[in-house]
Symmetry: D2
């Protein structure tokens, strides 16, 4: 009985089209360090997908995308404001502090895993604006979908963005599961980003199909100009750039990214529907491809023993994550094991 | 008439076995962030290749390998000592200064593109050891093969290493073309590294066949312990680590790396032999896969116009680089074009 | 009616003996950058006062003392653990993150303004030790006396230190009001520092009498060796070092520091006794020279209008601070104004 | 026979008026962290002295003034360009790299100890503008008077500034001996700074009379806004700011600074005149208060033995420095000893 892996979308393999894309560009010679045609094509593709001029920087991890993107928005004496459960605060070893030259990352309590304008307004109220003894809020970072699987509607992002920009605070989206949010909300990439005030996006390709490529996307030419330097000196410019660009180009082509995310989301919903029948519900509404579910420890231990893999986040709470590769059969088998 | 690309080994495609390796591991689920079996196997492979326990850290670029490796050897108030033409000083945007927290990178004039014990001893003589007003030499970084295609014999590295260690200075090898040096010298990886006193090596896989994977190799468990943290917060730990590890595992398997490097070296020697007949010689002895050749500007302009691609480094000096993919036919055609 | 300034011990002038000390050393020439006799004498003085070999580094501010001292104890990927109200977290603009190369500063909720072993043990329990995705606790920083005027008994520091050291975590004391704690507790400098496991102390001279001189004191020769470099490159080595050393030497001579602190403490207690008669009490036990007192906003507004200066910390809570210069007459006059 | 100290202007005591100024402000209470009246007055004084709105930031050392001032002009990926003998490159432990987040400090060979427009133009010619692999020149830093006692005329600074600004490069003046340059040139502070294109100046008070106070002066409000944050998090904002400001206010009052510098310059010229009679001459024209003089080692050893203190910079070259406190009698006695 092989285990059903619902630990993370990071454990999934890569989409087959990614391998094809790599094979497709591994021929002849090409200019190095991103001056190649594949990278140029990727730039065009991103601008099409986002319906305006956009700048894209391939990197090797979501942490790099977040920390480098944030470092271009936040001065060393600034603060990045985020939810207290945000990946950038809890799981990235303070990469953002390092790349920014010592900026603070401040976690706020939100509702569930999301920030609200009320929470942000109250924080801004408490902020000692202009006081050099206090880190100055410079960026609001939202995670979309959130670390618990919730999503922000475009209008919610826009409201948060408006509030942030009114204080000169820029907006960053940790899109580790951006495609999943898009698929869940059924809106356009533009709606969820620049139209709602997002300045910099971590694209989040790796969890959703690519092998070694994630990306920073920005709509601000000044930020883009700065990122060229920041990426190089962070060692995040691959010498054979076409192999990073090719993965991302394929990802954004032919609707691949949305199809993959849609499958992952559907698998999660199938799982939740089954768990609901068993009497288990998510602790916050899960709209994308992961859920935090309230399950007594003795029950979850039984599930684990039956070969269902997931993380116990805290006593009585487990996390399930599906991926582009999760099949209906796997979900059904997982539920069968849970039911026993 | 298609151009013959002798600009850089960075312009070459990836070796076919790399694609096969990626396909081979893109199946099922695997633990993320390097806790997977492929990464574990890579660790064993590296230890075998180097004939002792070694620690390997995949990264996405040679700059990352150099700068992160050096940051684990050099305190913020230290200095990395290298040849004045070293890539880490001239072409990496001071990544080493950033990752180390502000260390100095000091370039010394050597003989040709190599440092000698005489040059190093003289520098140590001038150093204000223990003076807090002066950056303290902490690492000697050699490039092997050098930026101009010369190589250090094992005994030369050992002498430099002995001198360095006698002052508490560690030794780093920028092995951007390490396999080419190995192939040229016909010695073992161990001979060129830890047996000669090297503490940290940038493996240099990308120029020689992989797609997006280079690596740091160290023989010091304390350095390895530190690098685990340094890499994560630099965003250089790929979430789907197996795809980085697989490229490197394949690279070091079945003699691939040495075979690729051997082909590149042979192509360069074939080119040099042809150029010698035309009366053109390298400015320093070129043993690996690149050479700086003295060529009058009007001549090199003619070659370029004839479809031979290379870099003009300075007036009267051009650089040729061959790769694993360079064929005899290409070299012969290039020489034919030069002869016209 | 001139105001009675109870805002901060930072608003007080310098002790007259400091001026005398400066005059005393401003004669003839002296070696620069701390190689002078006055600095040497200061080193001896500090070792006497702390009853063992100690190393002292004059700096120009408490923030410099804290951040530089902590940077020598905490690797870039480490975390400094402190009370959530600690000055290093709330009021120093993340200087500690900058000087450490991006370390985290993590605030814990304690009892009142103090940390307890229970709180620390629980935090250690939750820590992902050895996980590179998580900042690794490296230093415990306590404030003595605390930001709200509480003190830690030597045995309490020792217990916290024992727990910290058991996990390889070093201990730092922000002694912004160290002399006040000493005076309040009636114990020796050794009892409150190295005997209780403290590795590095911010001495806290400025609030208590000096003009421009504070200091880092450490008992660890390795930390001291590192600090020599860290201070120079932070611009914290005064070229005419004798003028920094002279202030500190005088501070620690003839019991000046304890006498000054004793006067400040006594003034605060006199104030609290008077306020108690009016029905106002500190929100946590105030043992040193400052107190947070619960006072309805309309009452505190009246006091302020009457010429008593203090800070309103939050609705219903005001802070009073006394200094070496606060007189009984001032306290009595302040109480008179409050009583009206 | 007491030694005549001609080692450095850093070895001199403080001017008596500095002590008086400190005594004058050490009374009553004052707002902390630079919000006091003395600091406000200093700001006005600086604006008067420089004949336009200027912003002043007291710091405790010239290294702090240089490194923090430069960090506000230079992005992390930038380069500070200076003479190869510049203090910021050779004697400040790469403080500039640390505070800037890893910027390069690039030394150019000039004529004597000065840079020329020809040297700078040639460097700009070689620069890979816009290439992210190369640190981008962002600041030109000149030392005035230079490390060897030469001075730049206002027109020379203006020419260098014009060239720099034409490439978007800002200009910084390390004014460790700015007053000496002013006194030597007989021009106004405005002529030597903003009128010639200087954006940021390190004022250089400590060597010329103050105790613990140097300062950054800038004419750019944006730089000033940034420095407020940078100084605080560097620990360079003294809590009792009036004691730093008072030294500088007195320094710039009643012509004190120019009188002190004039005395130091005159003492040096008296020394050089005497040495000329003995057949010894400076290696470059010395206009301020220090000179590098060619003296055979056996001769300088005799002088040292006779109780004249100076530094041997390199074989056959010694450095003499005079200060505000150097007397004619000392110079005459030094010459007498040299003559023996």
């Amino acid at each position: 009985m092989s285990p059903i892996d619902l630990r993370s979308d990071n454990t999934a393999a890569a989409e087959p089209y990614v391998l094809e894309a790599l094979a497709g560009v591994s021929t002849g010679t090409a200019a190095s360090y991103g001056d190649d045609e594949v990278t140029t094509r990727l730039g065009r593709r991103v601008s099409e997908v986002f319906e305006r001029e956009a700048f894209v920087f391939p990197v090797v991890s979501g942490t790099a995308a977040n920390a480098l993107g944030l470092s271009a928005l936040c001065p060393p004496w600034g603060a990045v404001v985020c939810h207290e459960g945000a990946h950038i605060l809890v799981n990235e070893a303070m990469a953002t502090s390092m790349f920014s030259g010592g900026a603070a990352v401040l976690g706020l309590s939100g509702e569930g895993s999301r920030l609200t304008t009320a929470v942000l307004a109250s924080f801004f109220e408490r902020t000692a604006w202009g006081d050099p003894h206090s880190s100055q809020p410079a960026v609001l970072s939202l995670t979309q979908a959130t670390e618990m699987g919730e999503v922000y509607a475009p209008s919610e992002i826009a409201s948060l963005g408006e509030l942030a920009h009114s204080r000169g605070v820029r907006m960053h989206l940790d899109g580790a599961r951006f495609a999943n949010a898009l698929a869940a909300l059924g809106c356009t990439p533009a709606d969820l980003t620049w139209r709602a005030g997002v300045d910099v996006l971590s694209l989040g390709a790796t969890k959703n199909g690519t092998m070694t490529a994630d990306a920073i996307v920005t709509f601000d030419p000044d930020v883009a100009a700065e990122l060229r330097y920041r990426l190089k000196r962070a060692g995040h410019v691959a010498s054979k750039g076409r192999f990073q660009a090719a993965q991302l180009e394929a990802y954004l082509r032919d609707g691949h990214w949305l199809a993959s995310a849609g499958r992952a989301n559907a698998a999660l919903q199938r799982l939740l529907a089954g768990l609901a029948q068993l009497g288990f519900a998510p602790v916050v509404p899960a709209r994308a491809n992961l859920a935090f579910v309230a399950v007594p420890d003795e029950v979850s231990a039984r599930w684990a023993a039956a070969g269902v893999q997931f993380y116990v986040i805290s006593p009585g709470v487990v996390r399930f994550v599906t991926s582009w590769a999760t099949t209906d059969a796997e979900i059904d088998e997982a539920l069968r094991r849970c039911r026993r």
